[in-house]
Amino acid sequence: MSLTKNDVLHLAKLARLDLTAAEVDNYALQLDEVLHYLDKLNELGAVSPAEVLAGSALVGRVDEIEEFNNSTNLLKSAPAKEGDLIVVPPVFSANQ
């Protein structure tokens, strides 16, 4: 099975990426080549449950309340602000 330009456009839509026509052409070819390489995984048989290792252990910690005093600096990172609020465009534009 190969990847079509429509597939690439669909993926780009899911991933919230605007692509140029040239990018769509390139990605269709390149992603297709990579997906073919990934087919290699089909050669590998099942792994016996005894050989399945536990994943790296997640570490717990005490649920303590910690004061966070860095909000001013965090807000500074936002690209558009009004006072302490982050500005975003409307979810729907006027013509929708």
Partner: protein, 486 residues
């Protein structure tokens, strides 16, 4: 006196004996950067004022006889995907072109507490995605051994800076080889710790189940000293483990006669440059001469490591990079509605490799493909981990080439992503299994450095450092330095 050629131990002795000041050392490094970095482009930003101010503070503290920290006055360069408070951190991406982090990465914070002097931030492939540093939105870094060649990647700026003596040590990150492969290409030491040994807090996430933070240096002992500080549990990284940290420096001088070294045959198969193979085999002979036992081993699942990685990693990338949406931080392309803002910001400001991986990740996680890609890759990951566990029942360390070739010319893989991905074939299995590994200078081919990779079982950093140190003391390679045209 050429202060940029000294090791950490030599600097510390010089400071203690008042042979030279921290200000003199920092000034020489800044002068070297000024002279050579126009050609190398290892740094994205240099902070001379702040570095010199810190040096003055340390000199005053030294004169007053105050305690100044285990790495006081040690010049450090930091890969630009590690957060540095108030100092530009771009991860090599346009989308973070003017980002000033509100806090330090834990590894950076710990080193600052011990008195390091941060000279600047080093270039890298965008979001650490690449093996040549050519994917940086701010242009490539050049290899100090041959300016027509890449320094490797993604931590190419850190490796080049250390190789050219523009910094004494550097921090990098390694998700599939991004510390070890550039260390190999630039002829320096690069250590990738066990997953969970060094906190990932403040490392800009690429693929979180593989990402690690580690040091670059010109000698094994210097990497051991940096590792000593950055290793250890951090409450802000839930995958960092509480295990006690070994005394890495003390481990270096222990004998290596009792070690068994495995040479996995799969690492010497097709695709390995025959001169690199020769150099690495000669390097392995040195271990026999040192009295260690060298045996041949097999890791039959190794050929599946890269394919498994190129499923799991993009899946994690597609989730981790969702945060770059033009809202809370980073750059924004204006649009008249929210959805268009997301599409334009991400489409225009993320580079081509980042977008390629996001789409690949979106694909392998999408309905109908999850079983055939993601689940299968996770199964392969466990099989590879099990292979390593079996191998480490027989041997203490695995010795392999770090990369299939020496540094390649700029542009040789940029139009063919798959050929670039294959650069990671010997380093990626280590990340799949979460193991520690070191790349160290292991010879030369055509006047270009060859890296020797030593892989240890989980948490055995002190063993691979010990073997690396014994090899370094028995060989001349670390004494060679690149000569850059003035």
């Amino acid at each position: 006196m050429e202060l940029t050629k000294l090791t950490i131990a030599e600097l510390q002795q010089g400071y203690a004996n008042r042979q030279f000041s921290v200000t003199e050392v920092v000034s020489q490094y800044l002068a070297a950067i000024g002279k050579l970095d126009g050609k190398l482009k290892a740094f994205l930003v240099v902070q001379p004022e702040s570095a010199l101010a810190r040096a003055t503070e340390l000199d005053r503290a030294l004169a007053a006889g105050k305690e100044i920290g285990a790495l006081a006055g040690v010049p450090l360069a930091v890969k630009d995907c590690l957060l540095t408070k108030g100092l530009q951190t771009t991860a090599g991406s346009q989308i973070l072109a003017h980002y000033l982090p509100p806090y330090n990465a834990t590894a950076v914070e710990r080193l600052i507490k011990e008195g390091v002097i941060i000279l600047g931030k080093t270039n890298c492939d965008e979001f650490a995605m690449g093996s040549s540093t050519e994917n940086s939105a701010f242009g490539p870094t050049y290899n100090p051994w041959d300016l027509t060649r890449v320094p490797g990647g993604s931590s190419g700026g850190s490796a080049a800076a250390v190789a050219a003596s523009l910094s004494l040590v550097a921090l990098g990150s390694d998700t599939a080889g991004s510390i070890r492969q550039p260390a190999s290409f630039c002829g320096v030491v690069g250590l990738k710790p066990t997953y969970g040994r060094v906190s990932r807090f403040g490392l800009i996430a690429m693929a979180s189940s593989f990402d690690t933070v580690g040091p670059f240096s010109r000698t094994v002992a210097d990497s051991a000293q940096v590792m000593q500080i950055i290793a250890g549990q951090d409450a802000r990284d839930a995958t960092s483990q509480a295990r006690p940290v070994d005394d890495y420096l003390a481990a270096l001088t222990k004998p290596v006669k009792d070690l068994t070294i495995g040479v996995p045959q799969e690492f010497f198969a097709d695709g390995l440059d025959k001169y690199v193979a020769q150099a690495v085999r000669q390097a392995i002979d040195v271990f026999t001469n040192l009295g260690a036992r060298v045996i041949s081993v097999s890791l039959p699942t190794l050929p599946y490591a890269l394919a498994a990685y190129y499923v799991i990693m993009p899946a994690e990338v597609s989730a981790n990079l969702a945060r770059y949406d033009g809202i809370k931080f980073g750059e924004r392309i204006q649009a008249d509605n929210l959805l268009a803002l997301y599409h334009k910001t991400r489409g225009q400001l993320l580079g081509s490799e980042a977008k390629r991986r996001i789409m690949l990740g979106t694909y392998v996680l999408s309905s109908g493909y999850y079983e055939s890609y993601y689940k299968r890759a996770q199964t392969a990951r466990r099989a590879i981990q099990a292979d390593f566990v079996r191998a480490f029942k027989e041997v203490d360390v695995l010795a392999t080439p770090t990369a299939p070739t020496v540094a390649f010319p700029l542009g040789s893989h940029t139009s063919d992503p798959l050929s670039m991905y294959l650069q990671d074939v010997y380093t990626v299995p280590v990340n799949i299994a979460g193991l520690p590994a070191i790349s160290l200078p292991g010879g030369f081919v055509d006047k270009l450095p060859v890296g020797l990779q030593l892989i240890g079982s989980a948490w055995s950093e002190s063993t691979i450092l010990r073997l690396a140190y014994a090899y370094e003391q028995a060989t001349p390679w670390h004494n060679y330095t690149p000569t850059l045209p003035a």
